[in-house]
Symmetry: C2
Subunit: 441 residues, 2 copies
């Protein structure tokens, strides 16, 4: 027998670090997803998905130690398998591509909007479940891949209403970092690794502490390195670094991006990106608001991830853009549009005697592809109108004795109070035109 | 340090009992979700969502012992909480409603399309992850609630192209069953419980074994009870049962449904529904194909679920319709439409010299809201056309020397081989008209 928990233990709150989406919250999330989908598909990307659970070994390979040791939701299933709720989508994507590598034709352009889980500690104010647009282009090794993916990132921001002065795209290159750590600073592997992880935490730590820890690794080369971190244009790098292959690739990328109207790009050696699998260009999009200059999202090139399946190498570039960072950005810049219900009209009976007539009116409108909710409860008509208003339904049609007799119904626009009286055909035309206008078709 | 797994252990297959969704699989799932959303919103339902994980106690209350003991994915999180990947959506929904019961105005019409997890054993051929449309109406205690929810179920089937002879809606009532078990058959609580669970398994077991187990519970009343199970019309019930309040409610429900064009309904005492929380009408939709007469989905009334939060009672009716049963039904009846890529056109450079020109053409089409993928690889043009075809992209535009010079481009319709030559403005008009036609606007 099951032990029934004491009822008072059952909380109505969501699990720690997660969000409930009531219809008014869902409207904003749907808006974000719609923009993501529209722009992704505009660039010829097709949607895919993968199971929520993966074998934990998939993440042990290249996701990064901190995430796997401290942040993933893993457990043993009833069959003894060590499984994980996906903390990121890229390993699943690599698995799908590796499984059908022979038959898939490149370039592959895929996107997905998965929910992802990480065990964040509450004091960080971070969320444990979030959704993320994943854009990935497989099969192109030249910078046209980076250029396309970064243009999509830029186009998504513009589709949300952002102008170039609201955000900046910072670029770096993993091979340039290797070159600096090795040839330029002559660090051993361990010191290079520590320096890389330190750079990744730069914006989250006190800047004096940051410099002290840099000094502990670099000693007398500290000032030389700190100067590099200030460089915002490739041509301001020391000549030896500027002439490196990686820097020249970034230069070509910047040229292509400028040609297609992406001009808010900057070079920044502090951009690291957390995942171990990046192999080339990395980029990160920042809010330029001085009160809130945080990273919104980022991505990069990962040409070697398929090797974890012993599959043939396949060049790849992608990014992941989270819903939480997106919402914060939209709020900061007041870019959230006013979002009304998907229900176009609320059909309310004047009293219970007209319940069937109200249902009939609602069904006739639905037959004309109008979204209709009906209220045949015994509440007063004023209460019904208030219900529609609270649900952000923009219009109410009232059905009573006169209306039933005449076959003409009064529709009230709740925002303006305007009223008009029409038969079913007339209401359908008005409501259809309105829906078409809202779709911008 | 992390122990890196031997690479050969990393499988490219999805976790047991789950599915990968490549773009061609995703198209079908998106089609199903679009139909679900369209019909739900047509009836004034608004989308909501809840976190994937809930405290396990939420399901211990009313989900049912078999599911909680044997089928849920539960584990202890890093903070020591016993959490579960949702096996169904209704308890989360009840939690959301209970949390804001004071401010939410009824009737509440909500829908969601969550993914759900159950640990199914592989030999059953069942899936561990599936998606499910959840439709729920809160706040209406009369049969107009059942009538609306069942009409939506019926409308969803019709929107998929099903006619009434392809499926049947079977109705039963929990209170009628209680009346039969108690007043009519005079069973004690334990025998009634065993009989109910046995009925729930009827269609999954050998019919002789079923009758033997019935006889073990009912003895000499077996034939009397077996006769009841054959009844398909309420009026064929013994008078005592027909006059019960529950049977009369079902009769009124059938009348209302017939009036709104839902005529493929039948009474069936074997319909039980697995969840413990149902309190009144229950219904189940069956495929009528004689080769495959399985249950597709079902639902019912649950007026008492909010009591698990010690919240005020609130009447509710809902159903859950899974993607797997839906796909099986659509396949059986050949109702799956031909689904092409969201990418409308594939812009291919004739050779790498025209890569930038091809990008330019693609961008100009995108500025006209056309979905475009571009192929500037060094593959031959024949290979590029084959790539478009394999991706189900319906058209190819080829960009070479002549086209670049003339500003006119040849577009080929891959299904027919038809070609036409137009400038950018001309291509935009053709592609926009096509998209509008496909949306039926």
């Amino acid at each position: 027998m099951l032990k029934s928990p004491a009822m008072s233990q059952l909380s109505v709150r969501p699990y720690k670090g997660t969000r409930d989406f009531y219809p008014e919250d869902m409207r904003l999330q749907r808006y974000i997803f719609e923009v993501w989908r529209r722009v992704s598909e505009r660039f010829g990307y097709e949607e895919y998905n993968a199971p929520l659970l993966e074998m934990t070994d998939l993440y042990r390979a290249k996701t990064g130690e901190e995430i796997v040791n401290e942040q993933i939701y893993n457990f043993t299933d009833r069959g003894g398998r060590d499984v994980t709720i996906r903390p990121e989508m890229t390993p699943s994507l690599a698995r799908l591509v590796a499984a059908k590598q022979q038959e898939l034709r490149t370039p592959l352009r895929w996107y997905s909007i998965p929910n992802l889980w990480r065990y964040e500690r509450a004091q960080h104010g971070r969320l444990r479940e979030h959704w993320q647009l994943n854009i990935d282009l497989f099969g192109t090794s030249d910078v046209s891949a980076e250029a396309e993916v970064i243009r999509i990132a830029h186009a998504v921001m513009q589709e949300f209403g952002a102008t170039e002065h609201m955000f900046t795209i910072k670029l770096n290159h993993r091979e340039l970092m290797s070159y600096i750590f090795g040839d330029y600073l002559q660090l051993n592997v361990d010191a290079a690794h520590r320096l890389s992880k330190l750079l990744d935490r730069k914006n989250k730590m006190n800047q004096d502490a940051f410099k002290n820890q840099i000094a502990a690794i670099l000693g007398e080369k500290t000032d030389q390195f700190m100067a590099l971190l200030e460089v915002e244009r490739l041509r301001d790098l020391p000549e030896q670094l500027f002439q490196s292959q990686a820097a020249q690739q970034l230069r070509e990328l910047a040229r292509v991006l400028h040609n297609t109207g992406v001009t808010n790009i900057h070079f920044d050696l502090t951009i690291q990106r957390g995942f171990d699998y990046y192999t080339g260009t990395v980029f990160e999009v920042f809010d330029t608001n001085p009160d809130n200059p945080r990273s919104i999202f980022g991505g990069g090139r990962y040409d070697d991830l398929l090797s974890i399946f012993q599959a043939k190498q396949m060049p790849a570039v992608g990014f992941g853009m989270g819903d939480v960072g997106t919402m914060n950005f939209l709020r900061t810049h007041e870019l959230i549009p006013s979002l009304s219900s998907t229900t176009q009209v609320y059909v309310a009976s004047l009293d219970p005697a007209y319940a069937e007539e109200a249902e009939h009116v609602a069904n006739q409108l639905r037959d004309g592809d109008i979204n209709v909710a009906v209220d045949t409860t015994d509440q007063k008509i004023g209460a019904k109108i208030k219900t529609a208003d609270k649900k952000n339904i923009p219009r109410v049609v009232i059905v009573g004795a006169e209306e039933a007799k005449a076959g003409k119904y009064t529709m009230r626009e709740l925002s303006s109070g305007e009223e008009l009286t029409e038969d079913i055909a007339g209401l359908r035309i008005i409501l259809t035109n309105d829906a078409t206008r809202r779709l911008n078709i």
